[in-house]
């Protein structure tokens, strides 16, 4: 049977959502799904990984995975791949996932599909759909050669669902030593910039601001509206690069992919590199002074107007209705 492996990324000891999405997809592809969990607290996550489809969980509890970037994980995974030769390894497109995949690709000389979606395995041949050119073109690709095919998948490409027939997975301790050589990119400090309310990637309402907000201080209008709606605030790259908000707000090709029920674009023109990160929203509302702004080409409701007026008015209106 086709062997499919999933790299179960841990963040703060918890499995990243994208890894659960990948496990869900993996069990649709094959009955032979293995998850690899590395780092402090890995064993405690095995049950969760089993629920989402892992039959087998390979764990290695070692703080080195958090203390050093990419190399310890890449070394361990490469060793396992050389031993067991799985057909496919799925990794989420996260900062760490990308770093690990790039090293594995070079080390195993295996090729990699980045941003793979619609994965299928027909007669052992892997097929994926990859959005090219800021997702204006969908390309069908396959990989040839190499022991294991590597596929990076963006968060939210698949829906995470608990397996109905889930059983406790077989847990195996990985027998490896992390070399001195792999301990070079030292993580000295981890700074978490806490934000209130739901996380951008998980919120059902997202209100994103762009250059049309005119200045950093006006983001407060969006935060107020988000608080009223129980939503999260995002941003275009233009304002992230301008330093108005941290990078963690950025939606788009080089930022986050969001799929909320409602996405409100406030003062955002709608460049394709932005829309690629939000066009999966169920409904899009856009507020922009320019009637020709590209964002109006696919907004479900477009308002030609000034964000600095419409957003506070909307906030008051909703509060009034709720009262």
């Amino acid at each position: 049977m086709t062997k499919v492996w999933v790299y179960a990324e841990l963040t703060g000891g918890q499995v990243a959502r994208v890894s659960l999405e990948l496990l869900t997809k993996a069990r649709q592809l094959t009955g032979d799904v293995t998850a690899i969990a590395l780092g402090t607290g890995a064993s405690a996550q095995a049950a969760t990984l089993g629920q989402y489809g892992a039959k087998r969980v390979l764990v290695h509890e070692d703080a080195a995975y958090e203390q050093f970037l990419s190399e310890p994980a890449a070394d361990t995974i490469a060793t396992l791949i050389e031993q067991e030769k799985p057909d496919l390894l799925l990794i989420g497109t996260t900062y760490n996932g990308r770093d690990i995949a790039s090293r594995l690709n070079a080390r195993l000389d295996c090729g990699v599909i980045t941003d793979g979606a619609q994965l299928s395995l027909e007669g052992g041949q892997l097929k994926a759909q990859v959005p090219w050119y800021s997702a204006t073109t969908i390309v069908d690709v396959t990989l040839s050669g190499g022991i294991t095919r590597l596929v990076l998948v963006r968060p939210k490409s698949f829906t995470a669902e608990v397996a109905a027939d889930a059983a406790a997975p077989q847990v195996e301790q990985i027998q490896v030593q992390i070399s001195q050589q792999a301990r070079r990119a030292i993580v000295v400090e981890n700074v978490v910039q806490a934000s209130e309310g739901p996380k951008l990637e998980e919120a059902s309402v997202v209100i994103s601001g762009g250059r049309g907000l005119k200045q950093a201080e006006n983001f407060k209008l969006l935060h107020d509206l988000a608080a009223t709606l129980g939503g999260a605030v995002g941003a275009s790259r233009a304002v992230v690069d301008a330093g108005w908000v941290p990078y963690s707000y950025q939606v788009g090709q080089t930022g986050k992919t969001v799929k909320p029920s409602v996405y409100i674009a406030a003062g955002i023109s709608g460049a394709i590199q932005h829309t690629v990160g939000m066009k999966g929203a169920k409904y899009i509302i856009a507020i922009n002074t320019d009637p020709d702004a590209p964002i109006f080409k696919f907004a479900d409701l477009g308002v030609v107007g000034d964000v600095l007026k419409v957003v506070p008015a909307l906030n008051e209106e909703i509060k009034r209705r709720k009262a």
């Binding site: 990308r98 070079a106 899009i284």
Partner: protein, 260 residues
């Protein structure tokens, strides 16, 4: 100190990219090509280190067609010291795997203390090349830097994460990938543009670096394109002009969607 910056020429990123139905590659004819805007941040980062450390060489390296020389010249005009262009018909169609191997080969000749790349290119955005380069050079990778300092034989970065950032450091030599929030790239001055024409550019082929045609380019690529289709587009909905009632109309829409 020697700093190598990897730069790429790409089709104008704000233009519409098209696929060539025959080669299934990106259409480069009749499209403006520019130095990847993402690479300007890398060059600027290198130049800032150079200014703080006199005697530093900044070498811009690119693999691409002959005309990628323009991208190298732009880097030289910004202030880099020297260029290296790896250009060879056998390299056309290279995937990230081959690109990283070839670049690493060329970079090694420059004896770098630091290699700077963007986190991802604007046309391919695989983000796989920098880690590949680090692997082939046997160097640590400091990725997603929004801040970079080099001192005492060490590179220290602030690395973007999903929830904030990390402080990460490594002994040189190292590979660093930088994001768009690291600096504001300078515009080349007229003087710089004039000087750039006289700066040295080494030209290399795949064979010069010891690669056979089978190892690189189209032939060596692991990823094969089977077909393509234009992506589905969302349709435009209702557009209203704010006459003072827009807020109420948006609230009505949100109520209809049961958001409020």
């Amino acid at each position: 100190m020697n700093i190598v910056v990897c730069v790429k020429q790409v089709p104008e990123p704000t233009g519409t990219n098209r696929i060539d139905p025959k080669s299934l590659r990106i259409m480069r004819e009749g499209v403006d090509s520019v130095l990847d805007p993402a690479d300007e941040f890398s060059i600027e980062a290198a130049l800032q280190i150079q200014e703080a450390n006199p005697g530093t060489n900044v070498i811009v390296v690119s693999m691409g067609p002959e005309r990628a020389l323009e991208a190298i010249r732009r880097g030289l005009a910004m202030g880099a010291s020297k260029g290296v262009l790896i250009s060879d018909p056998n390299l056309a169609g290279s995937d990230a795997l081959a690109t990283a191997k070839v670049l690493a080969g060329a970079i090694k000749r420059e004896n770098p203390d630091l290699v700077i790349t963007a986190t991802e290119s604007s046309d391919a955005y695989t983000g796989m090349v920098p880690g590949g380069i680090a692997h082939h050079l046997g160097l640590p990778l400091l990725s997603y830097a929004k801040k970079l300092t080099v001192s005492g034989g060490k590179a220290s970065i602030e690395r973007q994460t999903e929830t904030g950032f990390q402080r990460v450091e490594a002994q040189l030599p190292a590979v660093v990938t930088v994001t768009g929030s690291i600096n504001t790239p300078r515009y080349p001055a007229l003087k710089g543009i004039m000087q750039a024409k006289k700066k040295p550019v080494d030209q290399l082929t795949a064979a010069d670096l010891g690669f056979s045609p089978e190892q690189v380019g189209e032939k060596g690529a692991k990823e094969k394109v089977l077909g393509w289709a234009p992506a589905e587009q969302r349709k435009a909905g209702r557009v209203i002009k704010d006459d003072g009632t827009a807020a109420a109309q948006v609230a009505d829409f949100l109520a209809q969607l049961k958001v409020i």
